[in-house]
Structure formats: structure tokens, C-alpha cells
């Protein structure tokens, strides 16, 4: 394991890693939205439970609201309608508030989550011989700057030459730099002002985890703050599978799409209309079956 060779990178690999980075980044952004959604849902559920334990009444209220929106004057004539609808709209406020709160909470807590992961999952990665995890004293400026970065993607360790970063007031070394689960590392597009001319770019040590090698390149601004991390190597499993998650469990599998021809009994796909069907593989299979052929494709 100590003599693990650095993998050869070809253009396909680079293209794939770029694509996976984009995917992982999109995924992270969407995950925040999903978190907000779940919180909205639970707020909605609890609100519904508070006001009524009867899901049918809640449904009736929703239908009523629908009707009222279509025809405000007509539904106003119905006794009870107005109160049901206004209850409904009152219930929406806490849910919306919760959504905004959840978004804030999720932004605030991801850094903590990454740190937690570093502590709770120290065995997820192993060091290559000769490559050292950045030391806390040496990396003080990087550590401080990396905390928000790691909050987005469990940043891989970067060895920072002392000369590359001007001395900064020593910040307490957060464990977040040692997050080992840098899987398909994402490029970090930090929201910082355009970099000043005197940026410094350093390459991190090659770091090995369960799935392969990780190496990142960090760019520091003139004041020593981390402004970008780019991925130079990402882990693969036999050239096709790579973990796209950072610290999230469970793990999704990702690979390149291929087009196959094979004998099948039936085809799953979105053929919403009869016109879609006429052009579909399922239609060909049905025709073949009608003609007495066992399977087709």
C-alpha cells in the first residue's frame, strides 16, 4: 500500500473528473434545498397534526382552497369555507419560516458536520508514505481559511509550504483539514472577490483513501487566504465507478452511460403518449410477440 503508484491521468479521466466535480457540486447545492424541503414537510406535517388529526379534513380544506382560488365569490357563500381556507393559509407561515431557517441552519452546520466527520471517521483514509497531512502549525492560515471550504466538500489535505503562505496570527487548528473522506473531490468555487495579482498555487500531497488517490491544488490570495482548490486526481474503481458523495451516507454509485442492445422481455421508459409508444422498443417487442416471436430487441 505504501508503494501505491500515482495513477496515469489521460484526457478522458480529466473530462470525467471535471464532470463528476460539477455533478457533486450540483448535488451539494441541491442537497441543501432538499434539507429545506424536508424541514418544510415536517413543519407542514406537525402543523396539520396540530390543527387536525383527520387527513381527510385536511384534504377537503385543500380542495376548498383550490376551488376558492378558481372562483373566490362562489366559495365565499359556503359557511365554514372561509375559516378552513384561512386556517390553511395561516399554517403556511411557520412552514415557510422553517424553510428559511433550515437553509440558514444547513449553511451554518455543514462546517460542523465536516469536522464531525473528520473526528468520527478517522480510518476512512490512509496516508501514502512520505505524504504528510498538513500540520496544524504550518497550516494555520490554510486551516483558518479552509474551514468554510471544507464545509462544502470535505476538502482533501493540502501540504502548504511555509514559504508559500505569509505568516498569519496562529489560529487554532481545526480538525477539518484532516477530513480524509475526500472522494470525488469537488472544486471549490468560493464566493470571494476577484483574486489579486499575487496569488500562490501549491499542489497538495497525493493522498490515498479506500478508492484511490486524491490530489488537490490550492490557490492562495496575497493575504494567505485560500481562494480555490482544484482536483488533480480523483479516485476510481476499475476505471468506471467513483463515489460522488462527500460525507453523506449512503453512497450512490456513478458511472458513464452506455447504450446497449440486448434481448429483453419488456422496456421501462417514459412513453407518455401513444405516439411515443409507436416509436418505442416496447412497441417492437409487442409486434414481435404478436407475430409469435418469443423476445425481440
Amino acid at each position: 500500500m505504501a508503494s501505491f503508484p500515482a495513477p496515469q491521468m489521460n484526457l478522458d479521466d480529466v473530462a470525467r473528473s471535471v464532470r463528476l466535480e460539477e455533478l457533486a457540486d450540483r448535488s451539494a447545492r441541491a442537497r441543501q434545498a432538499t434539507t429545506a424541503r424536508s424541514t418544510t414537510a415536517s413543519a407542514r406535517t406537525s402543523a396539520t397534526t396540530r390543527s387536525s388529526d383527520d387527513p381527510q379534513a385536511a384534504l377537503a380544506a385543500r380542495l376548498e382552497q383550490l376551488a376558492q382560488r378558481r372562483n373566490p365569490t362562489a366559495s365565499g357563500a359556503k359557511p365554514g369555507t372561509g375559516s378552513a381556507s384561512s386556517n390553511r393559509s395561516k399554517r403556511r407561515h411557520p412552514a415557510q419560516g422553517a424553510r428559511i431557517a433550515a437553509l440558514g441552519l444547513s449553511l451554518a452546520s455543514t462546517g460542523g458536520l465536516a469536522a464531525l466527520f473528520a473526528v468520527s471517521n478517522p480510518s476512512a483514509g490512509t496516508q501514502l508514505a512520505g505524504a504528510s497531512i498538513v500540520s496544524s502549525a504550518q497550516a494555520a492560515p490554510f486551516t483558518a481559511a479552509a474551514a468554510p471550504a471544507a464545509s462544502r466538500s470535505a476538502a482533501a489535505p493540502v501540504q502548504t509550504p511555509a514559504a508559500a503562505t505569509p505568516a498569519q496570527p496562529a489560529a487554532p487548528a481545526a480538525p477539518v483539514v484532516q477530513v480524509a473522506e475526500a472522494t470525488a473531490a469537488q472544486s471549490l468555487n468560493l464566493d470571494v472577490p476577484a483574486p489579486a495579482p499575487a496569488n500562490t498555487t501549491v499542489q497538495g500531497a497525493v493522498f490515498q483513501n479506500r478508492w484511490g488517490n486524491v490530489q488537490v491544488e490550492a490557490t492562495f490570495g496575497p493575504d494567505g487566504s485560500l481562494i480555490d482548490v482544484a482536483t488533480l486526481q480523483t479516485p476510481y474503481v476499475d476505471g468506471k465507478s467513483v463515489r460522488i458523495n462527500d460525507y453523506a451516507v449512503p453512497v450512490l454509485n456513478s458511472e458513464a452511460l452506455t447504450a446497449q442492445s440486448a434481448q429483453v422481455d419488456t422496456v421501462s421508459g417514459a412513453t407518455y403518449t401513444s405516439n411515443d409508444y409507436r416509436r418505442s422498443l416496447q412497441s417492437a417487442i409487442d409486434t414481435a410477440r404478436a407475430a409469435g416471436v418469443t423476445t425481440a430487441a
Binding site: 376548498e64 447504450a259 446497449q260 419488456t266 401513444s274
Partner: protein
């Protein structure tokens, strides 16, 4: 040979019924007639294209919940449960329906009606069949002794090719939500805008009703929707992004057959 194969055009799509039982030789024409009649009943009841269907009238506020049948009420209650479960990614009240109302339970009606149709066939003693309704499939048993059903997942860009092949035996549902070349038309209830992250989502699990609804919800949620799906025991998902990457839940591999042909 009492097996049969029939394609019924109903609910605006093709429903392929493929019964493989050779059983004890008794013929059973009644099961097909019953299934066909059931599918047309569902169409008349839940169609958002038919002017006087109960769903259209309910959506227009012409009738209320007390005036509809138990099955309509149960479907709408299921829609509300799914809305809570999916954090609003599935919402029957979110997007304009073809009948110009904001009530459209279609995302669950198709899977549910096919699952019920499969139960109908089972009550007639059939144990080995598939019903494929516009790409959503209820499977039972096997196609032949010792053989699994082989189910292709359509390639998003090549209608005559498959992105993956599954092998299935027993009682399983497979549903796919996709946009393909027709452009984005699945709406995110939170934004009212079409969702665009994924080209196709397939969900497999024990109940086609839920597999159908989950496929719609994951399509709206995007990649994180697959993580959400892993919280639903027995269900697995497979998504294809617009940049030709496939993403699947950890359990999806148990269904999947390794690619047998050269990528092309």
C-alpha cells in the same frame, strides 16, 4: 397454452399485457376482459382530459370530497401522504392539468391502476405476467421456467437502445420518469418551473404505485432524491443525467445485469 399478449390503448397510452402462464390448460379469456374494463374505468374516473370525470369536477370545485367514490378519495389521500413523504416534491395540487385545473393525481394513478390490474390477474390464477403501461411495469413470477424477466431501461437519447438491463423474478414494480426529446415537462412544485437536472429516473420496488410516485419525486429532487430514496426499504433507483452519467442507489446493483454488448 393459456398465456396471451394484448396491447390496449387507454389513458392516452399503450398498455401491454403479457401473460406467460400455461397452467393446467384451462383457458381464461375473462381475466383480460376484466383488466381492460378496469383500465377504462380508471380513465373515465381519473382523467384530466375528460370534461366530466370526477377528478375534473373536483378540481373545478363543482363537487366536493363527499361526492366522490372511495377510490378517488383514497388516491387523493395517498397523494397527500406522498407530498409529506417527499417534502413537497410530489404534489398533486402543484401544476396546471390539461383540464385547466390545479388538481392532477396522474403521478400516482397510473402505477396504482396497473398494480390493481396485476392483482386482478392474480385473482384469476395467473402467476407469471407483466403489464407495461407507458413504460411503468408490474411484474409477477417468471417468463419461463428458471428464467428471470429481463427488463430494459430505455436509453434517454436512443429510443432503440437501453441504458441498463435488469433481471427480475417475483412481484416487482419498475417505473421510469423522463423527459427525453420532448423537453422538460415535469414541474418542481416548489418553483413551478420544469425540472432539468436529470434526463431519466427509474425506481424499482415491491409496489408499482409507490415506485411510480417515487420516480416522479426523485426526478424533481435531482441527485439528492436518490439519497432520499435509500430511506425507503425495498426501493432502489437509477438516474441518468443530461451529461451522460448514471447514478444509482447502493442496492440497485442486485437487479442489474452487467452490460453484454459493446457501448454504442
Amino acid at each position: 397454452m393459456t398465456g396471451y399478449h394484448h396491447v390496449e390503448h387507454v389513458m392516452g397510452m399503450a398498455v401491454s399485457i403479457d401473460v406467460r402462464d400455461d397452467g393446467d390448460g384451462a383457458s381464461d379469456p375473462g381475466s383480460l376482459a376484466e383488466v381492460v374494463s378496469w383500465l377504462h374505468h380508471v380513465d373515465q374516473t381519473f382523467s384530466t382530459y375528460i370534461e366530466d370525470s370526477p377528478i375534473t369536477r373536483l378540481g373545478r370545485g363543482e363537487i366536493d370530497l363527499d361526492a366522490v367514490s372511495d377510490e378517488v378519495r383514497d388516491i387523493l389521500l395517498l397523494c397527500e401522504q406522498l407530498r409529506d413523504d417527499t417534502g413537497g416534491a410530489f404534489d398533486a395540487f402543484a401544476a396546471p392539468a390539461p383540464n385547466d385545473t390545479m388538481l392532477d393525481p396522474s403521478g400516482v394513478v397510473k402505477g396504482w391502476s396497473i398494480e390493481r390490474a396485476a392483482e386482478l390477474l392474480e385473482r384469476h390464477g395467473h402467476a407469471n405476467f407483466t403489464i407495461n403501461a407507458g413504460g411503468d411495469i408490474a411484474l409477477r413470477g417468471r417468463p419461463a421456467a428458471a428464467a428471470p424477466w429481463r427488463v430494459g431501461i430505455r436509453h434517454p437519447d436512443q429510443a432503440d437502445k437501453m441504458a441498463a438491463v435488469l433481471e427480475i423474478t417475483g412481484s416487482i414494480g419498475v417505473a421510469t420518469s423522463a423527459t427525453y426529446e420532448r423537453g422538460a415537462h415535469i414541474v418542481d412544485p416548489h418553483t413551478g418551473q420544469p425540472t432539468t437536472e436529470l434526463a431519466s429516473v427509474t425506481v424499482i420496488g415491491p409496489d408499482l404505485t409507490l415506485a411510480d410516485a417515487y420516480a416522479t419525486a426523485v426526478f424533481v429532487m435531482g441527485v439528492p432524491g436518490l439519497e432520499w430514496l435509500t430511506g425507503h426499504a425495498g426501493y432502489d433507483g437509477y438516474a441518468i443525467t443530461h451529461d451522460a452519467t448514471t447514478i444509482s442507489t447502493p442496492g440497485f446493483g442486485r437487479w442489474r445485469v452487467e452490460s453484454e454488448t459493446v457501448p454504442g
